[in-house]
Symmetry: C2
C-alpha cells in the first residue's frame, strides 16, 4: 500500500501505538489499514464413486486440474462460498455435507476450507474459469496434473477415508519459506 484508500494521502509503514506489528498508517486521516489472510472455499463434489474436477482456464496453474474453489466473498458463509464456486467453475449444483479439510498457507496468507459435498444430479459444465470439467473415479484422477498441493491432499485424504469407511476432519499446515 502506498496511498490511503480513505483520503488518498501517502501512507507510512509503522507500528501504531499499542500494536506490535508494522501497518499501513495514514497520519492525515488517522487511519490504520490492516491486511489479513483470505479464505478460499471449495468442494469435493461427489457423484456415485466419482469426483468432479475442473481444468483451470486461468493463471496460476492454467491447464491443471483442481477441485472447484475460490476466494470467499463478503456477505456469504463459508459453505455458501464453496457452493457458489462449484456452480461458477463447474456448473454443478451441490449439497455440502461437512467441512472436511482445512489448509493453512501462511506464506501466502491463505486459509483453504474444503467441504465434502454431493452433486444433486450428474450435470455440469465448464464455467469461464474452466477449460474442462469431468467426473473422475479414483484410478482416473490426474495426479501428476493437479494444480495445487491443497487439491492433491484433499483428494488423497478423501480416497483414504472412503476406503477406511469414515471421514475425519483434517487440518494441515503447508509451510513454505519465501526465498
Amino acid at each position: 500500500m502506498n496511498f490511503c484508500p480513505q483520503c488518498g494521502s501517502e501512507t507510512e509503514l509503522s507500528v501504531p501505538e499499542g500494536d506490535n506489528r508494522e501497518r499501513d498508517v495514514c497520519y492525515s486521516c488517522d487511519s490504520i489499514h490492516y491486511q489479513n489472510p483470505r479464505i478460499i472455499a471449495g468442494c469435493i463434489p461427489v457423484w456415485e464413486d466419482k469426483v468432479l474436477l475442473c481444468k483451470r482456464a486461468i493463471s496460476p496453474r492454467k491447464g491443471y486440474w483442481t477441485l472447484p474453489a475460490g476466494f470467499m466473498e463478503l456477505a456469504e458463509t463459508t459453505e455458501q462460498a464453496a457452493i457458489r464456486e462449484t456452480l461458477e467453475e463447474a456448473g454443478a449444483v451441490v449439497k455440502t455435507e461437512s467441512l472436511y479439510a482445512l489448509f493453512n498457507l501462511p506464506h501466502i496468507g491463505q486459509v483453504y476450507m474444503i467441504y465434502r459435498s454431493a452433486l444433486l444430479k450428474p450435470e455440469f459444465e465448464s464455467g469461464i474459469e474452466s477449460l474442462d470439467t469431468r467426473l473422475f473415479s479414483e484410478d482416473e484422477i490426474p495426479w501428476d496434473d493437479l494444480a495445487f498441493p491443497t487439491m492433491r491432499l484433499s483428494l488423497e485424504y478423501y480416497f483414504k477415508d472412503r476406503a477406511d469407511g469414515s471421514f475425519t476432519f483434517r487440518s494441515t499446515d503447508i509451510v513454505k519459506h519465501r526465498p
Copy 2:
C-alpha cells in the same frame, strides 16, 4: 474505498469484465481491489474443570467477558493466531487440541475459528486489551455478561459436550440482516 492504495487515483465502484460483483476499480493503474471476510481465531483455554475468560478493556463490548480471540494476521496459521491471541489477551500459554467451533457472521464479513485448548500451567494475566482475566467453572460463567453470541455459543457447546463425554466440531451461521 475512495482512492487507489497503489497509485492514489480515485477509484470507481464497478463490475470488472468477467466478474459479477461491484469492486473498487482503479482505471488509472488498472487494478481491482477486493474486499474479503476476515478470520477471528480464538481459544477455549481449559485448566482442570475451568475455562479462562477475559474482561474486555476495549470497544466493542468493553467490560464484557470473552474467550481470548482476535483477528488472524498474515504469515501465521489459524492455530498460531489462536495461541497468540490467548497469550496477548490473557497472558496464558496454551496447547491447542482441535478446531472446535466455526462461526460464520456474513453480515459483518467475519469467520470465527475457536480451538479447544489446554493451559500448560494455571498462570495468566490481563493483557492491554483486558481489564481482568479469570478461570471460571461452569456454574460461575457470567452468562449475562458475555461479549458476543459466538462466545456464548462456544461455551454452551463446550459444557454440553463435556457433560456428554465427547466433543464434536460445530459449524454455526449467525445471520443478521442489517437495517
